[in-house]
Symmetry: C2
Subunit: 229 residues, 2 copies
């Protein structure tokens, strides 16, 4: 009787779900970094064979994209300020903080300068706010792109710096370079050499963001663009 009564689906009952695979992957990435996620490790983590992973997932890229979309869907959607310029800033900072929590997302994401379908509302928010600030739609899109460049750069630089710091010793390559600095050739840099560690620690993301936005938005006092419809 291969089909007993009804409701019981035919075939071998599943022991692993796509969700299991994704959950395990997320756990492994958070623990060991995404560079160290391999299909084989993932399989052994959930106690199955590598080939089983391929039953649930097309390939490694597909796995990562599915993970990303999962995160994006779980994201809270805070209320952003009414004032449009401030809304641009707040949304960008929100994106930044999301990425800062899992920098590897940025490393995967760099490619398409938007954040996947389920994160698109953030782009919409920024572009809409920029238009309210008086931007032409095209300017608004370019503003978003500038913000994305700056944000992704910040995240990636910080991420790979801290990666190096954990794997190698405390003293980074940069420390070495700064110690051997010739004060004649590099007067400003060697004067600063003592302060680099402090500077590195400082979070100045929002300073740069504000500068970028202020410089790219039309001067305030303009009438909002296309607000009548």
């Amino acid at each position: 009787m291969p089909r007993p009564a009804s409701g019981a689906p035919p075939g071998r009952p599943p022991r692993t779900s796509r969700a299991d695979v994704l959950a395990a992957a997320s756990e492994l990435i958070d623990r060991d970094g995404w560079q160290n996620l391999t299909i084989r490790r993932l399989a052994s983590q959930i106690g199955t064979s590598p080939a089983t992973v391929y039953y649930h997932v097309r390939d490694k890229d597909d796995l990562l994209i599915q993970l990303l979309n999962g995160y994006a869907e779980q994201l809270p959607r805070p209320e952003f300020p009414d004032a449009p310029r401030q809304r641009v800033i707040s949304t960008a900072i929100f994106i930044h903080d999301v990425l800062a929590a899992r920098p590897w997302i940025a490393e995967i994401l760099t490619a398409d300068d938007l954040l996947g379908v389920s994160a698109l509302w953030m782009v919409e928010t920024i572009v809409a706010a920029a238009i309210e600030c008086g931007c032409e739609p095209e300017q608004a899109a370019l503003l978003y792109r500038h913000i994305w460049y700056y944000t992704v750069g910040e995240i990636l630089v910080r991420a790979s710096r801290s990666r190096r710091q954990t794997q190698r010793q405390q003293r980074s390559y940069r420390d070495e370079v700064f110690e051997g600095l010739d004060p004649t050739e590099f007067p400003r840099l060697s004067a600063l050499s003592g302060q680099w560690p402090t500077l590195t620690g400082k979070d100045t993301y929002s300073d740069g963001l504000r500068a970028l936005v202020d410089g790219l938005l039309p001067p305030p006092g303009q009438q909002p663009h296309a607000v009548t419809q």
Copy 2:
């Protein structure tokens, strides 16, 4: 006679030099992308065994670092403008263009937010110019860091976008997303959807750079800082 006359060095004569290894590596990267550079491919390219590569180079990381330093040393050192603000801009654009020519350098480099010893003069130039603009040394260093974030972001985003474009078909993931866009949920984005390809092509690096610099430099008209010595 293991040591005939003099001058002839002892031991087996070399058939491969460190320089050969680096040259071949550079060629392979330019041709196939740095993601596809493997020690084994490199070895077969110069007609030797993988183990030989390890005679000339400590490991793969070391190989890449040596390559980078090689490039940096060959870089031209253009005359930059006298006006300090303009000098900040020009140097940053110079860095940007160097990286744009070989984006993989940025991917390797992200880690230490400076460009290796032989490229440090660029950092010195920017920091010095910023100080002349009236920055405190610390502000100047932070300005450089902002510029670096923005520049590296621009390069990396563009690089991985064009990589995806070449490997997959013409139609990118982004195109798909934009076509299925719900105009109710994303009014601004769907209005823009036709223009994205054009926008993607536009090079707006220097616009963002200027905004960043203008926003972070003290307002012009200040006396240059510490110009007396």
